[in-house]
Symmetry: D2
Subunit: 363 residues, 4 copies
Amino acid sequence: MSSNAFGKLLTVTTFGESHGPAIGCVVDGCPPGLTLDAEEFRHDLERRATGRSRYTSQRHEADEVEILSGVYEGRTTGTPIALLIRNTNQRSKDYGDIVQTFRPGHADYTYWQKYGIRDPRGGGRSSARETTMRVAAGVIAKKWLAEHHGVRVRGYMGQIGDITPDAFDWDAVEQNPFFWPAADQVPALETYINALRKSGDSVGARVNVVADGVPPGWGEPIYGKLDGELASALMSINAVKGVEIGDGFAAVSQHGSEHRDEMSLDGFASNHAGGILGGISSGQPVTASIVLKPTSSILVPGHSVNLAGEPTEVVTKGRHDPCVGIRATPIAEAMVALVLMDQALRHRAQCGDVGVVEPRITS
Amino acid sequence: MSSNAFGKLLTVTTFGESHGPAIGCVVDGCPPGLTLDAEEFRHDLERRATGRSRYTSQRHEADEVEILSGVYEGRTTGTPIALLIRNTNQRSKDYGDIVQTFRPGHADYTYWQKYGIRDPRGGGRSSARETTMRVAAGVIAKKWLAEHHGVRVRGYMGQIGDITPDAFDWDAVEQNPFFWPAADQVPALETYINALRKSGDSVGARVNVVADGVPPGWGEPIYGKLDGELASALMSINAVKGVEIGDGFAAVSQHGSEHRDEMSLDGFASNHAGGILGGISSGQPVTASIVLKPTSSILVPGHSVNLAGEPTEVVTKGRHDPCVGIRATPIAEAMVALVLMDQALRHRAQCGDVGVVEPRITS
Amino acid sequence: MSSNAFGKLLTVTTFGESHGPAIGCVVDGCPPGLTLDAEEFRHDLERRATGRSRYTSQRHEADEVEILSGVYEGRTTGTPIALLIRNTNQRSKDYGDIVQTFRPGHADYTYWQKYGIRDPRGGGRSSARETTMRVAAGVIAKKWLAEHHGVRVRGYMGQIGDITPDAFDWDAVEQNPFFWPAADQVPALETYINALRKSGDSVGARVNVVADGVPPGWGEPIYGKLDGELASALMSINAVKGVEIGDGFAAVSQHGSEHRDEMSLDGFASNHAGGILGGISSGQPVTASIVLKPTSSILVPGHSVNLAGEPTEVVTKGRHDPCVGIRATPIAEAMVALVLMDQALRHRAQCGDVGVVEPRITS
Amino acid sequence: MSSNAFGKLLTVTTFGESHGPAIGCVVDGCPPGLTLDAEEFRHDLERRATGRSRYTSQRHEADEVEILSGVYEGRTTGTPIALLIRNTNQRSKDYGDIVQTFRPGHADYTYWQKYGIRDPRGGGRSSARETTMRVAAGVIAKKWLAEHHGVRVRGYMGQIGDITPDAFDWDAVEQNPFFWPAADQVPALETYINALRKSGDSVGARVNVVADGVPPGWGEPIYGKLDGELASALMSINAVKGVEIGDGFAAVSQHGSEHRDEMSLDGFASNHAGGILGGISSGQPVTASIVLKPTSSILVPGHSVNLAGEPTEVVTKGRHDPCVGIRATPIAEAMVALVLMDQALRHRAQCGDVGVVEPRITS
């Protein structure tokens, strides 16, 4: 199976380099009959776009999705859905200086070591540009999950640097450029990020994703566990260095009597597990959290070596994201949605006969 | 592909329930010519065994591995290696009371909801008993990695409850029942775990794994990234709730100027990345960390419901692990080794012609 | 994915060598709730067994299947079903002379060239012994298909040497050791096979398989076509050199006006297509045909080379099948059943919402 | 894994409908460093093109391949290679009448039954238009096989209707529009096909493919056999109803003493096996043969039903291939090349250490 594809029954294959002619994806396995229009991709792509606000990189990409296949008269036909976005704003000159240099914290050196050749323009294949297609594919998964199962997948920023939300309101999340759930902290965040930008440095971030409405029974043990699939899907996002389900690493210090979620007929008493037990959804909200490392492309000079094997100093000029984690929010949502839809189809394949099992705990 | 299998080119398929006749696995894709003897599994299986010490569950399993196929005159032949362990110490009566009850924190309820039927004896398929076969398969991967690439994969406990190591010595790790890297803390740990056991409760743990000697270039972008594969392999271990690569969640608070590992001809200046950039190994040690939730089977009563849909109280009698994380150390090592061997074979398939690429940074 | 596994959603992984300790398989993806007992494997295994009659090899294998996992209180649980058969009648001395020699028409030379090592005892992994586990796995698929979809998969001999059936009666097929559909020809076949055996030679055969009751819509275009999957499943049977669907090679000489199966409300006017159009079942019986080459292990001496690279002559002593094709009948049935069940699950995954589509042609 | 993808290590995913905006493919797993230019696709695409001669359908498609990714400065980089061809000559009006009707011998009815929706324009996804991308992907495989292993994959027509070649000359094959290996029969073939066209009917065909230079050892037993993979790859081509390896169905009537290819130090005495033993290449030429059914879209009226469930008569107007098998020659070559390259990579992954094994038979 292709290493540029993921999903077992809903398979998404992406292609394209940051500064090549185009990026795209093939979504295979989507059930027939789903209405789909190219306009529907716009909202999430704008949420992801680097030009979304001045707090992320100022490169503006007019990401126009073209549906090349798999849709007839506005509905999916069951055949592969190919999506294409032309790269229109490449400005290759910006990247001329990195052709000869391995940027610290980037994949330049490792691609070079693996392949003996690399497309250095804008990071080539290793650029976060690829995640655009994940977001596009995720739009399809979100829509199918909502229509067929009432599942809603939403993300928000859980931490930027040392700042954590002091309140939580889903409505606030989409009202500010940080996907921040506490409206009153937004001005302080602006100040913080602006200061970072001026200093030429960057900072890490945490993104949380919550999927509501997931029925019990999704997820395949042992190596197709719902949490296992979420882990690889989320870890595969550029810059992600860790994945948690439910309480995650906080469980190190917890006691069993605290962590295990007790049950009654009215539901679970808590959700430390993040809605997954034994790799299978419990009916509670599925919660996952990721950490994104601070942007490596910063104005602060860094030591490195060049292609000739000589020591050199790297300074990123031009575009610069003080916190790449911010725009990872819709990407993380997309990956969670794609995993859930894949698991929904897998569950239906094996357990399509099972029906509703009693007792079912309210959640 | 089977959900009870993992790995693309080194594929491990496991089977078996905790209290069924046997557990086993099929390891497919191992190159021919590796010497292999059934005795070689003993060491790591004993490290994993619940009877290893009084600090973990006292059930003693005499895990005798039988090699059913794939080895001829002491060497692998390239055909699938089937390994079998008979379940000899099942004591089903211990588990009689859980047949009718969904234990909080366990997969009882979710398996029931998914399949409408479950083998309740000892947790059935969701029991950590399955991980025995991961450890056995990992023995093969560790050996091949060592012989062919000089790679060494080792794990240790990074935290138990709130206790963290105050020193680090690889030699200490194998000298105590906690895989603890600081010998002087062992008596205190014994006291702590004994107190926990007496209280009938349990605690979480962190396990760290380090793979030394991994050459640059292993790992397949985009959805076959080395870190992505590690994440799903490690998250699939029972009770794991989080996975980190390198600095992991600590990166939330880091600045880019701190996190990115600068390079010189003499090597990398640091290893915040955990030896992986863009999903590909950099030549530095690969480091991963996992958290295991506290054992859910404890003596402290917990609320739940039973098969009839009535409220009930669950108390685990008999065997009880105060910290399941301890014996996860060899399991995590095995999973890391299996992922690395798989990636080594994948790299050889696609990049077998590439040869040594210059400049190569010493590490 | 393992090369010793097949099937996407119903995945069968086999292991074992002809003269190793055991052969076995892991069947993953079977829906929960199917009743299953070890006795149910007996019938088809006896149909396949070499000791079935004096017309096939006289080696008698007492193939006792042990269910190692996946079944609880007589019903499948949705977890992997591992089946094991111990090799009890190995008589390794029979094969002593072939250790140093590459038998013409066998895989001896090619395994040696691929792996640089091989288990020569009885052909090792390349022995038709492996097909025992296909038959066992096929029992599960046949049962599920019958219970859930009313599908029946049956095979018969379509040709032995130049002899073809002069009548057709399903009832006759199971009444003679040749799976021959014309009872009156059986004595002549006995004479023919006995003469072949005495001459020390062997002959090829054709096996036909028919699956009745397959509903329209099974099969996944483009590279998961029902006929494509049947082709690889059937070609993977030892000694098979060709696969046909429907009219197969006879279509070379047909005109379009003859071959295309016209339709009316009462059904298709013919079934040249073998029940598959565009890779998807049409609702007509699915028909496939295979050819098996004549046994290479014969008493007639043949030229070859030995391990030392010297010319040598090979004569097979002892057991000798004058027509290996005969016992391929239940193997071919099993492969067809496994492919169909896999496709049924795949169809349910993607098109589980579609329901009955009108107009549906009676068939 | 996607049903619109094939290959384990060299994975080709295709997308697109006959009359959609475009068709395309993603080739993943190609080793880095292969030179590749869009012009290189032209030759084989023209060989396949329907407009190649007046003996096949007169629709002319200007198939201009655009390389969207995976190539940098004229060389492959190891990242996925996406190829795109815009559909420019759709003439949808030609197909207006088939929207309401299920054409006999086509996939119209089965797609409708499977999905409950279909793109009827030109056959949609089930059109042979899709094979354009197989040919394009095959160009990459042919080139890599030639450069790295000296393998050459060539096809020719083995039979049209009842006409078989009376001579064999590779040079002749590319000198006539029928890929016919006997030059003196070409005028008679022209007469034959013209008469067929006038009669409004069509005829079946056999295509043979030969791969020279395949080293011993390629192919993975048991379910990844070289012949098994060839069978599914070739059977997946539109209109194919049978696949043979080596002597194929002729082996029914052969004796073992005739069929098995005896060996000496100077090579094999014959090649009945088609270069494959036990699923692994022997070093002899790999030979495969397929049958393609006669075109179903003919001028002769045929009975069918329409969407409303009423009886109707179907007559194909306009374009009409009297023998679709002719243009299958480059498609079959492409599929064989793709399978061989995939197997070459798989072999290198598992047996990269084995080196040259003695004794090696000259071939």
